[in-house]
Symmetry: C2
Subunit: 367 residues, 2 copies
Amino acid sequence: MVRRKFLHYKQMILKMRDGGKTPGEARRVPRIGDVAAAAGVSVATVSRALSAPDKLKSETRDKVLEAVAALGYTPNSVARQLRAGHSRLVLVIVPRRTNPPFFAEVLHGIDVRLAEAGYVLITGYMEADDHDLRLIELAASGHVAGLLTISGDLPKVAGRSILDAGLPAVAICADPRVEGLPAVLLDDEQAAAMQVEHMIGLGHRRLFYVSGPPGNYNEVTRHRGVLAALAKAGLGPDALIEHPGNYAFSGGIAGANAYLALPDRPSGVVCGNDETAIAFVKTVHAAGLRVPDDVSVIGFDGIELADFCEPTLSTIAQPRFELGAVGAQLLIDRLAGADPADMLPPGGKILMQGRLLARDSTRPLGE
Amino acid sequence: MVRRKFLHYKQMILKMRDGGKTPGEARRVPRIGDVAAAAGVSVATVSRALSAPDKLKSETRDKVLEAVAALGYTPNSVARQLRAGHSRLVLVIVPRRTNPPFFAEVLHGIDVRLAEAGYVLITGYMEADDHDLRLIELAASGHVAGLLTISGDLPKVAGRSILDAGLPAVAICADPRVEGLPAVLLDDEQAAAMQVEHMIGLGHRRLFYVSGPPGNYNEVTRHRGVLAALAKAGLGPDALIEHPGNYAFSGGIAGANAYLALPDRPSGVVCGNDETAIAFVKTVHAAGLRVPDDVSVIGFDGIELADFCEPTLSTIAQPRFELGAVGAQLLIDRLAGADPADMLPPGGKILMQGRLLARDSTRPLGE
DNA sequence: ACCATTGATGTAATCGATTACAGAAACGGT
DNA sequence: ACCGTTTCTGTAATCGATTACATCAATGGT
């Protein structure tokens, strides 16, 4: 009896919370039981009307669907998810402030593909070492079905990795080098080689290289490509002067200042990404050098903006949308139960090719 | 009996799904019951050890926490959420491909503030009319606690709005003009007036205006500011030639072409945002005009890049991080039960001020 | 030493949906 | 008309955690 009274009170609070201030307009979110009552059937029938309509007599089904529409009922997906044991949410780990124009388009590819397959995307922004625990707990909490990372790193705290949650995961754009983690990547080595070959093809024999962050997966791989291309052209490593960058404007400025301070400046500059290249161009311009007359500069990524700066930037276009979409598809297949080994080439990675965009920031040496 | 057998089988499937192929390594995700068994206590005690530690004898608590650590237990937040009736997820509606450098920073502000308050952000990308239903259903599904929109529009399908779910919501950067919806906005009218006043202060008496998308909230408000500033300077509306834009590169190109075709070109150009301005400069440069020698151009937003193009772009800086953070805080307060009326000025909107950045793309007329 | 009070822990109801099984109704064959 | 199918719908168990209430132990006051 006392118990019943308590429940009644609790119910009132609930009503007030859901509805509004005036009791008259107290309109709570309808539950499956409300629909059942309105249609004069059981909750099981309502559930079936929505998820397996052909199991019902058409007459009953219509009655239920009418009630659903009248009440504006949407199934509570939290309850559904608890019962079903799996969710339709995918967590995407994104580096927080790095290179928004680039990652926005990768995300777009991911989002479009996930949406088509009925999944919803949760973006987890990750700073270098910050906020990791929150994402790890989110992954372990049963809320999400799978994991994508377009950041080179994965949240890790005190030896606890986000992968410990055992979620199906796929890496996009950068490879965290984790055993068994499928990855969709640009062929960075080949693409970086294209940068260098372009320069060499224009007659530049000495190059300045503003890299990405030392140790970064993409940087390491691209660096290998740069050296390989030089070697292939018969040039030794002394043909290359390197400056460590960070894939951001600030790295381009610092790189340019280092370049300007050089006694004998190379005629070609290879940058780790477009933002770096744009900042580089801007900085050497300010110092009185002209691009491409005095120095040729090439970027990497092919962001839209590279076509809107002065001069337009030669660069390597990444298939950003496709990288995202293919990565998302890989995860969708795994969530559907496919074996990664069946979908991937032997190395466990899908490599996509970059495309050289030769524009105005590079030109033949001495012309 | 038969039932028991079925359950047993189901359990096996669960084990295999959670664990792996080899029965030996079948490691399922631990539940609260597993921890209770391991610690030799009831599930209630485990729950209390995690959420109300001081209600337990320290001895018991330690025993439980040990078991938690040993098993690597993380509470299933789906179950928790179902029981609690509310979640820690906040859905942010973001325009899909528009102006990534700008929105990325607003999102950053939102994310930082939400994270501090223990919330997790879900990004719902929204295209003009696409994918709306998915977001509406997500909002109505009980998964999210609140709603932020930094897109001018809100998902709406067949008369059903995302606000019908009754979630606490806050608008940031753009005002969907919905009764009772709190908003954190730039003082667009004032900011646009600053653009014009800057131009007039430099002696430009006739202006070309590449607007945002006609009808867009920001555009409408800024347009009002432009006209007000002209009137204040004693200039009639014939001092302004308008071209409808779209806040993207393409709008800047189209605007520039329209400008170039003019028989008598105004000496000052006011753009709806920085991307538009950058594309405008690029296009008139290609046609042989020089900025700022032949024409002064001012942008809007203050994205990082505006300082890295040639010439550096005069613009109005928006406090992007703060807009996001303040908007997030407003929602957090509402979720904590605060009355919006207590937090907001009478109009229901918090207006933040823009800041003029006078750089190289504008200069006194005739100098 | 006994009862009252406080404190610690356990039992079981609960959140809202799905679904196995049971039971009822409709149908067909003889 | 009766029985066996098939078709449809209802009852109740279930997902994993939280928490009101019950219960039991320990403590203190007299």
